[in-house]
């Protein structure tokens, strides 16, 4: 890998080569048609150039077969491009089940990253190579966009909702992180560094706390549990009690279908939990009443991530309990 001038960014994720393959296909098709048009225009212009002022060209002005040919062939090729691009898009939108969860908050003008073990960093993202990473992202102010060219991924980071993307780095090294949605004065300085490390080094980095550890350096689910107590969520949601009368049980909730009062069924993903905290009356679980007050303005985006991490940890313990029960 020299530092020589290149026309492609480095390929450093599992998806990068696939995106580049589609890029090459499109370049080939484009070059073919551009060359065809340029050649014909230049050839006709030269061959049929006006030789005398009184020329009378023959009346050639329609041919249905030709029209069909140059309608249907481009149409067919366009559909191949569509299917290829759509297939990639689906892969980009579906993180693998074993992906590691990282949380990203964008704000004017910095990126804040929360690791599952409690590590926090700003404008840097340390990840292990060969491990799928799922990013759940939101913004504290305006719309940003999270872009790592070497990984060929990009996703807008939108206030008021969660967006997700994922990648699996294939080589160690440092790569650019850019904000690609114009977000105000220092938009072009909302950049960062992605550091891909061998798993051993990543473990070491986590232990050494080379990043910028949080106030207590505690894991997000621990911070979430604390917040859960502080906000007295347990009064209604009774953490490990398996659900009391006032509010639905939360253990094992994340990722499960929930039946709502209005008959709909939704999957209880991160966005659902976020919405249920900030705007509890939007989706009421069947069998419960609309008693919960809003926590809008009382819990910030990072706090919400912590609560979700806490609920996720309940899911894991719930699963473990179910497994041990099944084994017995």
């Amino acid at each position: 890998m020299g530092s020589e001038f290149s026309l492609l960014p480095e390929q450093a994720s599992t998806i990068a080569a696939h995106v580049d393959a589609l890029y090459y296909f499109l370049i080939s098709v484009s070059l073919f048609f551009a060359a065809l048009i340029f050649f014909l225009v230049i050839y006709f212009a030269a061959k049929y150039r006006r030789r005398s002022e009184n020329e009378q060209p023959p009346p050639i002005h329609e041919d249905l077969r030709l029209e069909l040919v140059w309608t249907l062939i481009p149409l067919g090729l366009a559909m191949v491009m569509f299917a290829w691009g759509a297939n990639l898009y689906f892969r980009l939108s579906r993180p693998p089940a074993d992906a590691m969860d990282l949380y990203v908050v964008g704000k004017q003008w910095m990126w804040k990253v929360q690791h599952p073990e409690g590590q926090r960093e700003i404008n840097e993202l340390h990840v292990p190579v060969g491990q799928p990473i799922k990013l759940t992202m939101t913004s504290e102010d305006v719309i940003h966009s999270f872009f790592i060219p070497a990984f060929r991924i990009k996703m807008d980071v939108v206030p008021g909702r969660y967006t997700t993307t994922w990648f699996e780095a294939t080589k160690t090294g440092e790569f650019h992180l850019f904000c690609t949605e114009y977000c105000g004065t220092r938009h072009s300085q909302m950049i960062g560094r992605v550091v891909v490390m061998a798993p051993v080094q990543y473990e070491q980095w986590l232990r050494n706390g080379n990043g910028a550890p949080g106030p207590s350096g505690e894991a997000p689910e621990v911070a979430g549990a604390r917040l859960f107590q502080e906000q007295r969520c347990a009064t209604c949601h009774g953490a490990n009690l398996g659900g009391v009368v006032l509010g639905p049980a939360l253990d094992g909730l994340l990722g499960r279908p929930v039946k709502l009062q209005n008959g709909e069924t939704v999957i209880a993903d991160e966005s659902y939990i976020r919405e249920s905290i900030l705007n509890p009356t939007a989706k009421i679980t069947a069998g419960y009443q609309s008693l919960m007050p809003t926590y809008q303005g009382q819990i910030n985006e990072e706090g919400l991530f912590h609560l979700i991490a806490y609920i996720r940890s309940l899911t894991k313990t719930g699963e473990k309990a179910a497994e041990t029960r099944a084994e017995q």
Binding site: I37, Y48, E62, P74, H176, E181
Partner: protein, 548 residues
């Protein structure tokens, strides 16, 4: 044979300007400011949009100067953000959208159908005043403080966080929209009701089909922009929650509304240019257009499909994956009518009598640059690939190939073609060919490197950038300086020609089309007698004669 001889004689004789025409009926300032003559209004528009073009171009020059080096050293970030915002706003709303329709369309729509004027001459004048009022707001903003939201006004930045003149700018764009609507209405009614006897729909020059399709977009799309701007103003001014999630709004809703207008707006800019190209290619190859029906229906198909593809601006916006699929396939479909047009123009050259006067050079340039711009649009319609290139310089390159390479080449080609008709004078051919060449080279040097920059990952709207992007940025800036010179040259010789240019004959290109059957410049009433149309558009080949 006899017609050819007459045409030859016509060329040999030294053309004499008509004694009275629309330009010399009256010289007073009032005769211009209160004119209802569509031709004079076209010239009012020409002067105003030229002013805005050079203003928008001036901002582009500053942008390219800043981007010569990776750090921000010429201006501050805040200023840079205002520069690209004003560049976009002015070029789109005050130059490109009115360019061909309001100048060439205003001048030619009545002439091409053999009418005396547009259906509503006073509304036509009103549209210019509305445009100027909106323009004054924008000029005011440009001079006092600026605006930094990008021309796209994305929320909640524009409604809650921006500290610049968002409201004044919004008012300017809101007002100017009504001039578009009036122009569109005028064209639709005129084309429906005022065609000369014998001028059936399928005998209309393709310039008119393109303007008809454009007018439909202007009428149906612009009100949505106006509504969106009102909503932004309500949120910014009165804190009514529509887009800002902190107020209970949805920021992505804004993008849906904005692109519902602003994607069709791209076709407002390119369709009229396509209409111009159909006129140029036929005239300078002395051929009937190949596939008239296909090109005409392609214009209408683009206008309709263009309303259904706005979501391709939002593939990474958190819109649903399935919405992405639908918008992607529709975007591929809208590419097909454009491809059909390019193939038909090319086929028109076949066995033609091709000459290389300046307008035709612009037509060749248009075909090349529009083809490149269109093909790179396919990259952006491909979902998985768009994720990578979205909001990078790849997009900037793509839309400049369409809007500058396409729309401005078409506009300049048309301006050269109809200049003798509009002014009664010929432009200097040698200088004009040279300028066309300089513009073509400068354009490609400016914008081709930006495709590469985009795929490498350079985001758009970046004041500073990592050093490895510098080589391509320097190339782009160098190209821009050539392009800038290329645009100044026509400005100079057009003005020069008004006094010193050779006097134009009624039909210097021996073109078909009703506008060439009256004197250059035409009388105020356009035609001494209402013409009667007895043949198809572009009847360059003596079709009827040959068969008998």
């Amino acid at each position: 044979m006899s017609t050819a001889a007459v045409a030859g004689q016509d060329q040999l004789a030294t053309p004499v300007a008509p004694r009275e025409h629309y330009l010399n009926v009256d010289y007073g300032v009032k005769s211009w400011l209160f004119t209802t003559d569509h031709k004079r209004i076209a010239l009012l528009y020409l002067a105003s949009i030229t002013l805005f073009f050079f203003l928008g171009g001036f901002f582009a020059v500053l942008i390219r100067l800043e981007l010569m080096t990776p750090p921000g050293d010429l201006v501050q970030s805040e200023t840079y953000n205002k520069l690209f915002t004003l560049h976009g706003l002015i070029m789109i709303f005050f130059f490109l959208i009115p360019s061909i329709p309001a100048v060439l369309g205003n001048f030619l729509v009545p002439m091409m159908i053999g009418a005396r004027d547009l259906a509503f001459p006073r509304l036509n004048l009103l549209s210019w005043y509305i445009y100027m009022l909106g323009g004054l707001f924008t000029l005011f903003v440009a001079v006092f403080g600026g605006v930094d939201t990008g021309w796209t006004f994305y929320t909640p930045y524009s409604t809650t966080y921006a500290n610049s003149n968002v409201m004044l700018t919004a008012v300017g764009v809101f007002i100017t929209g009504f001039s578009s609507i009036l122009t569109g209405l005028n064209f639709v009614v005129t084309i429906h009701t005022m065609r000369a006897p014998g001028l059936t729909w399928f005998r209309l020059p393709l310039f008119l089909w393109a303007h008809y399709a454009t007018s439909l977009i202007l009428i149906l799309g612009t009100p949505v922009l106006a509504i969106t701007i009102v909503l932004v103003a309500l949120e910014r001014g009165l804190r009514i929650g529509i887009f800002d999630p902190a107020l209970g709004g949805d920021p992505v809703l804004f993008q849906h509304l904005f692109w519902f207008y602003s994607h069709p707006a791209v076709y407002i800019m390119i369709l009229p240019a396509m209409g111009v190209i159909s006129e140029l290619v036929t005239c300078f190859s002395r051929k009937r257009i190949f596939g008239y029906g296909f090109i005409a229906s392609a214009s209408v198909a683009i206008a309709i499909l263009g309303f259904l593809v706005w979501g391709h601006h939002m593939f990474v916006s958190s819109q649903s994956v399935y919405a992405g699929l639908v918008f992607s396939i529709l975007s591929f479909l809208v590419a097909i009518p454009s491809a059909i047009k390019v193939f038909n123009w090319t086929a028109t050259l076949y066995k033609g009598s091709v000459s290389y006067q300046t307008p035709m050079l612009y037509a060749f340039g248009f075909i090349g640059l529009f083809t490149t711009g269109g093909l790179t649009g396919l990259f952006l319609a491909s979902l998985g690939l768009d994720v990578h290139v979205h909001d990078t310089y790849f997009v900037v390159a793509h839309f400049h190939y369409i809007m500058v390479g396409g729309a401005i080449m078409g506009y300049l080609g048309g301006l050269h073609f109809w200049w003798p008709k509009m002014t009664g004078r010929m432009y200097p051919e040698g200088w004009a060919r040279l300028a066309a060449l300089v513009i073509f080279i400068g354009f490609n040097l400016t914008f081709f490197p930006q495709f590469l920059l985009g795929y490498l990952g350079m985001p758009r709207r970046y004041h500073m950038y990592p050093p490895e992007f510098q080589i391509l940025n320097v190339m782009s800036s160098a190209g821009a300086s050539i392009l800038g010179v290329g645009y100044l040259v026509p400005m100079v010789y057009f003005v020069w020609s008004l006094r010193y240019g050779a006097v134009a004959s009624a039909n210097p290109w021996q073109a078909k089309g009703l506008e060439w059957q009256t004197s250059s410049p035409p009388p105020t009433e356009n035609f001494a007698r209402t013409p009667i149309v007895r043949e198809e558009a572009y009847a360059y080949s003596p079709l009827g004669v040959k068969v008998v």
